[in-house]
Symmetry: C4
Subunit: 231 residues, 4 copies
Amino acid sequence: MLETLKERVFQANLELVKQGLVIYTWGNVSGIDPASRLVVIKPSGVDYETMKASDMVVVDLAGNVIEGSLRPSSDTPTHLEMYRNYPEIGGVVHTHAVWATSWAQSGRAIPVYGTTHCDYFYGDIPCTRELFETEIKDNYELNTGKVIVETINALGYNAMAIPAINVSHHGPFTWGKDPMDAVHNAKVMDTLAEMAYLTEKINGNAEKVTQHLLDKHYLRKHGAKAYYGQK
Amino acid sequence: MLETLKERVFQANLELVKQGLVIYTWGNVSGIDPASRLVVIKPSGVDYETMKASDMVVVDLAGNVIEGSLRPSSDTPTHLEMYRNYPEIGGVVHTHAVWATSWAQSGRAIPVYGTTHCDYFYGDIPCTRELFETEIKDNYELNTGKVIVETINALGYNAMAIPAINVSHHGPFTWGKDPMDAVHNAKVMDTLAEMAYLTEKINGNAEKVTQHLLDKHYLRKHGAKAYYGQK
Amino acid sequence: MLETLKERVFQANLELVKQGLVIYTWGNVSGIDPASRLVVIKPSGVDYETMKASDMVVVDLAGNVIEGSLRPSSDTPTHLEMYRNYPEIGGVVHTHAVWATSWAQSGRAIPVYGTTHCDYFYGDIPCTRELFETEIKDNYELNTGKVIVETINALGYNAMAIPAINVSHHGPFTWGKDPMDAVHNAKVMDTLAEMAYLTEKINGNAEKVTQHLLDKHYLRKHGAKAYYGQK
Amino acid sequence: MLETLKERVFQANLELVKQGLVIYTWGNVSGIDPASRLVVIKPSGVDYETMKASDMVVVDLAGNVIEGSLRPSSDTPTHLEMYRNYPEIGGVVHTHAVWATSWAQSGRAIPVYGTTHCDYFYGDIPCTRELFETEIKDNYELNTGKVIVETINALGYNAMAIPAINVSHHGPFTWGKDPMDAVHNAKVMDTLAEMAYLTEKINGNAEKVTQHLLDKHYLRKHGAKAYYGQK
């Protein structure tokens, strides 16, 4: 079942390696089928080099394995929490990419220092609070999803306006309209994390972009008045 | 029309990827035909992997599309402003390359710390002021070109003596005698941006080169008394 | 003799180069045969490009060459000291990888700043004290092993719980259940060294993970209650 | 004439590119024939991609072109000054490699922070003083060689004991027993420059190695009592 989506999720997982975002088994991608609301996700701890499209695991939004002989990614409950809360999401990615993860470990949001950032994300990329002891001990992966949702909702923006977040002391999650779009956002986030780092080192008093510049760049690529790209 | 120039602009766009200056669609190259004063430029938001030489768009200096079925780069008005003001320019490049863009985001000029810089650029690589709100809201891309010209003219140097600039909170533009030369200067600028960053971190009181050293290195490669390279 | 282990040690040495942990001859891998307690190790100063599996040298735990026409790695006494003290070790690696070595040169332990670290190492990765003059002058390589053992024992943890250490002003040693696992840990250590560096630069007051988070991530991958990966 | 040396100098120039030390034409290698004391050097400003072994230029120690239709590297007088002063040198390399050049631009010597450094260089890698105005205006490239010799002689060490130096605000020169050995030292110097940078950022009070450790590592690879590598 869902062979096309399995192939797309599989290819998106390989793209993580190709883009230099993942070594060994340090990442996972999932995608959701809009009709059945079933989720296809990478199996846990399987090497990218030997993984096949048919290894992808199908789960429902409650976390039951519907098809597949391998265990789904241990981060599956985090992915599912995202899909349950934001129906517009078509794919979710988690990595331990170096630059983004270093910001996660520092506990700071990635400030919007330039137009590259504005082209993709409509504001700073947040970092969640740390999880409490009880949230870590039981249902850790589900609670990781809950703290992401809590952060997005507390800041009051649309999840698709800033399709990336860092979980404190852990690492980045990104999402998009489909699995490959979520990988694309993971690569962009990591590059922005690198440039924000360098910007602060070059100028200890670096300032964020103005709201005007943020509006201009974000809205020329997204929304009704977009004029970037082809029709 | 202009098939040779289209091929050269196309190859120069691919070279941006090969040199590691561009991911996804984060860059564009244009070239001008000296006879007709028509400009060939990359289409907007098209993947480098599927792009063909025949996708290049021909526009006149007023921005009218003369040939091509795709939209030209959204940065076209910036490129055209450069060609209108500096007839000696044969090619223009814009990227979001990591090192140069980080300096743009910091709002600082790239200081001339060594002979590598002197070999190509006859002084610091400037960073423009930020655009005003009105300049961002209307004709943003044209105004980006205008603030570049304003900066060059205010500093009072020949545009070909320092064929590179950063736009504040945005990123680098470079130019040259032809499209590939502009790409070459983009690579050099990014490498200089990296080395200037490291130089300041190694020595918080790093000093710029003397005028004597700048003259020596720049003039042994450029101008009437050059003696670098082959005749 | 031990042809299979020779092949595995040889392949693990090549993997060091493939993973970008070694240039020229700056690294070595060994493995131990559990039955005979003989050790197979890379020869000293031989190019990776021309090295063959049959060049691997067999030594006993006292350091006697049992088979092989080439000299064993000059670091052999360090490897042997590890095998003698920790029978659970199946492979040992030494490199001068850039990030880990820079921490060694700084004399600091690598703090556990995030879950990537917790997934592999159950606490900070220590750095030994400097060797005394007498320890350097005589039996230097053996004393390098002794100071590693001294550090692990003084801190009081199981050697397999943190299978990596830095020797002060020198560089990293890692180990594992077999030679390739030790290489895997060398790559992980170097990546953690990079991220710890960046974390401290992004936030000068960065905090280590809580014991709860360390327990959660380490124990979901290791030990009786592990649930990461496939059964 | 000297076809074998031409091929070796040519291959050593290509190795600079392969090792990531050079982009475009930013480097040059030469080698000397011990019998005739003639020097073979890369031509000036020729692309590495189209360069052939037969393009190498033969000059004598006075700088006269003995064979070759192309101009020799503009840095030829610097190379010749090295050969004239240190007869034990067999090859010389100049690059603008990023890490080493950043130290040159900072004007600081590269401190000996670890054993990787000790394995190759018997102390800090020095940085020359800046050239005076008169030294820049006339015979600049010769004076670059003279300030290198001045620095080595003032510090009072054997040129082969530390076969690498930075010229202030310019970049690294390295040498060796033959052209490829000089390239090897260029790669090592750049890696040490990177690790010294990181070491100081990880620990603002990082200390250099003791004389004991420097002696141990340098002398186990060099000199009469060396025991590293194969006999």
